[in-house]
Amino acid sequence: MSNESAREGLDRRRFLKVVGIGGAGAAVVSGCSTAQVEKLVPYMVQSEDQVPGVPTWYASTCTECAAGCGLHVKTREGRAIKLEGNPAHPVNAGALCAHGQSALQGLYNPGRLQGPMARQADGSFTAVTWDEAIATLAAKLQAAGGKLAVISGAGRGTFTDLFQGWTAAQGGKFARYSAFSFEPLRAANQMTFGTPEVPHYDLARARYILSFGADFLDGSWLSPVETQRGFAESHGYRDGAMAKHVMFAPRMSLTGMNADEWHPPRPGSEAAIALAMANVLLTERGGNPADANALRGVLGPWTPERAQEESGVGAEIIRRVAREFASASPGLALAGGASGQHRSAVQTAAAVNLLNYVAGSVGQTVRFGADLDTGDGYGALLALLETVDRGEAQVAIVHEANPAYTLPRTAGFAAKFAKAGFKVSTSLVLDETAALCDLLLPNHHALERWDDSRPRRGVQGLMQPVMEPVFKTMATGDVLLKVAQKAGGALAQFTAPSYEAHLKAQWLKQLGTDAAWRQALANGGVYGDAPAAPVRLAASAAGAGFTAPAFDGDASPEAFYLLPTASVYGDGRFANRPWLLELSDPVTRITWHSWAELNPETAKRLDVREGEIVQLTSPHGTVEAPVYIFPGLHPEVVAVPLGLGHTSYGDWATGRGVNPLDLLGASDGQGFLPYLATRVTLTKTGRYKQVAKTEGTTRQLGRGIADAMTFAQAKQGMTPALAAAAEGHAHHEVNTEREVEAIEGFDAAQREARRHGEYANDHPMWGMVIDLARCTGCSSCITACYAENNIPFVGEADILRGREMTWMRIERYWEGGEDGEPLEARVVPMLCQHCDNAPCEPVCPVYAAYHTHDGLNGQVYNRCVGTRYCANNCPYKVRYYNWYAYTKTAFPEPLNLQLNPEVTVRARGVMEKCTFCVQRIRAAQHTARLEDRTLRDGDVVTACAQACPSGAIVFGNMKDPASRVTQAQGNHRGYHILEDLNVRPAVTYLAKVLHRVEA
């Protein structure tokens, strides 16, 4: 990582609109046609921190969710081309999730508003100048006389402080809201511990993790990267130790897929289980916290048997898991999140709090004091909306929030919001809320502006503009200040000349010196530990309990519980990014559209097949979606993903899929949106839609692709083959001694016969190890790969033909789930294995696929004629073909500015595949050569390994005995997929380790 430079001014980084050097990224392979005239445009003034052809890195902070991960932004010739995690950042420690990676597609999204716009009398929008826009807003504010309502989704930080102060100065009302606000957690913490804070959950230290409907690995739960990092740390097998993870939730989400045990309770009944467990702990275990005994009265009635009655989960299971939980210290029980947000969600969270408390986890793995930011919550938003509805807002401003979409239709946002006299949006795109507004003041993207964020106490992240704005947008901070100068009056106190100056002044108050400010910029912020704020049991904790939650709609057994799930598309804000639309859902592997999950038995009973479009009807509305049959679902539940069904959110999102919020009621006064609170009836429409999923067959058929072993076997140091043999299915072919001798002799002779030319010299041999015990299947590697390697998306129609271009894909297989066997999910990241004896190479007629001197399976795009024989002969099916000129459709202006100039953009008719990020290898070799040294371990990190929040991927030189990859290869859990083909892959997988229930 080089050259993190802190720069004060932007003026010295001219963004080249007409890019000469290096080209505008679009290096298209097309024979040797260089006929057209190219222009070289020099800088007016050469900036010191930019060398053409050499990437410049800036530290920043991710704003895609409230977690505030640290970023390193790679720029080339004034364009941000890749986001990587900041290794020094305490939240993400260098990793970055798929949402964070995709921020670039937010930055360069063609759907972005290109400048300020005002609504005309006929209802259409016309472009205005910033001066006009600011003058309009200032005038409206002057006229409003304090009747102002602000909805802001921004994370905590200087901007929010400014915005809040700016609003308050005028006497306006302010609410901070984002869709997943974890209000039940706050309410439960208030109830049990007397504080509404969201604590820091330390999964890394936990030895036993219980999830009560908390989808903490599904990408939308509190701080996703940090959570996953911690989970991999504790649940990833290492040196004979590994935490156990048990999940109680009606659906096997990605979190459930990574659980050692998954038990589906009746929807809404998790609290009963948690209470029963706390009861078991309290009665059976000594050494409980002293004040926990006060809970005996509360927990007493909650026997496992009663919990079984309420939840349908066996009392024996509850008792056993409780005892295991008690014996593993420290443990951690988790609740909260959209999928568990039913009308008893507060009770669930409170019960889990009690369980943690009884187990002594509070203060250990549940640490108060961090105060994770989740906004003001749903209640605050509804209250604000009521004031607007009462006509108490002359001006309404919506910033980084899209309540017109994220609220159920029954909340009546559009009608209530319409009562505001003058409505302003700062949204970057014309989203549903912006479409209702009168004035659009598009904000800079986070990578184009100065800002900061305080995701939790002790962590202050800074953002700096890494490039010139793509469009004629303006940072909202600057808009606020300019409006203040224009409007005067109560706003006259905001005198900072620019938001940048304001921000710096605020930081200097804390940091003191300019040098410290520069240091903070280079580091991406200032990080420290959150002060611990120990909590004790509050008196109100006695109010914990469980009452079965109410559900709207048909109570008859023919109806289903509707479970809206959150994954790739988040709360809907990611639905306009092709990388994420094409990213197959980690659980169902579906792309580009909505679906309705049904349990196989339910589907059989109803006689519906995959792809049959069903109509789901609740008292509040109706949606239609094709069925996906999913074994990891409670039979009485139908699950529909959140985040699609936009009516206005750019070309890619608008009209795509359905929004399950249309089926929900708005509120019943608990202060949060109960996502899981509706029962729906299901009607077959008789129409079909082929489900655009990337999976073929869901079973491994005993082929040992995603191998696993039990914890006991791992502790004995068993190899996957031995473990499989112990399980009674030996899928690995064993050669006789003579065969082995012959094979080895032949192999040695072949190796000797290869030693010609460059192959006779000494070179590294690149290899990779993927630890399946750590991999959760989160798919951030896929998005990182898309970003690094200029991979085009192909769109839904071609996904239906299996033509996705995922150089790195996650294969998900099911094990068990039949004949009473527990359902087990296995994920395995599949990428080019860079086989030593690669079957793809000899079949290429033109040497476009060949083996490099450093052990890579080279793919020379400009030599490829496209016979596709290599792809046929690839046993791993990791070669991808440009059936059409995808690069022309996948990178419309200005998305093409994101293209990595170091990677050739592939033309139509060319085969492509994972290259082990050869451009990074070559760049590292260039650097080493310029510095007159040899490569060191860690000089080359592939994009996938870099992004992986679980740290499951290790890359390096297999010839270096000291390298991490060589050492990881020596692990007894190591195996090669399809080893019996003797293709000798360079990718070694380490078998997953499972805590299986002892018989």
């Binding site: 007409v18 000469g20 050097i21 290096g22 080209g23 679009a26 290096a27 298209v28 392979v29 097309s30 024979g31 040797c32 046609s33 260089t34 005239v37 190219e38 222009k39 070289l40 445009v41 020099p42 800088y43 007016m44 003034v45 050469q46 060398v51 053409p52 052809g53 050499v54 460059e758 040497y847 060949y850 490099t852 001197h853 450093d854 890579l856 080279g858 020379v860 795009y861 400009n862 030599r863 170091e902 990677v903 050739t904 953009v905 290259t915 050869v918 451009q919 070559r922 260039h926 050569r929 310029l930």
Partner: protein
């Protein structure tokens, strides 16, 4: 019959000769630099059309800057030793000298005036690219400079110090041009060294 056979053999020969000629063109172009162009001190922009190479918006005289004034290449192409891109000089680099140097000849003064105007108007000069490498080739300038030294530029770009207007001496998009050198110097000619 005989005629047919003769015709066949003849056309084969012609084809072979054509291939051989194609192979030879790069070598032919490499001939001695036109020593007689240098004394043409007073070439004006009107003469540039007759010169080899694309006409530039400003008739920049490499033969004067490099050949006469002995400006080192890296003075302007500043990043060639550290980056795959050699870099083209920023307008300030030009003005570093041309704030003072106004040109001795009227033909020079005209061109220098253009530079000054462009600088004053903050309007960068859009140079026409002479050497455009196909986009699927990654050529690390810095490694070549590292190994061959700072004055190795003319190995590929020819003696620009004798070119009033820069033109392509070698077809850098002929892969054979690269490979010949790599072969002679016994350096790696693996495909993924350049193509990825």
């Amino acid at each position: 019959m005989r005629k047919l056979a003769l015709l066949g053999a003849g056309s084969l020969l012609v084809a072979l000769a054509a291939i051989a000629a194609g192979q030879g063109t790069s070598a032919a172009q490499q001939g001695p630099a036109n020593t007689d162009t240098l004394p043409a001190w007073k070439l004006s922009v009107r003469d540039s059309a007759a010169l080899k190479g694309p006409r530039q918006p400003v008739f920049f005289r490499h033969d004067i800057h490099v050949g006469v004034n002995k400006t080192p290449c890296q003075y302007c192409h500043y990043s060639v030793a550290e980056s795959s891109e050699p870099g083209i000089p920023s307008m300030t680099t030009c003005m570093g000298c041309h704030l003072i140097v106004g040109g001795s000849d009227s033909s020079h003064q005209v061109e220098i005036k253009k530079v000054r105007e462009a600088y004053n108007n903050s309007q960068p000069i859009e140079w026409v690219r002479v050497h455009t490498l196909a986009r699927h080739v990654h050529f690390p300038h810095m490694r070549h400079i590292k190994v061959l030294g700072a004055n190795a530029c003319q190995t590929c770009h020819g003696d620009v110090g004798r070119m009033p207007q820069v033109y392509q001496v070698n077809n850098i998009n002929n892969m054979g041009f690269c490979i010949t050198c790599h072969n002679q110097r016994q350096v790696n000619r693996d495909c993924t060294v350049c193509h990825f």
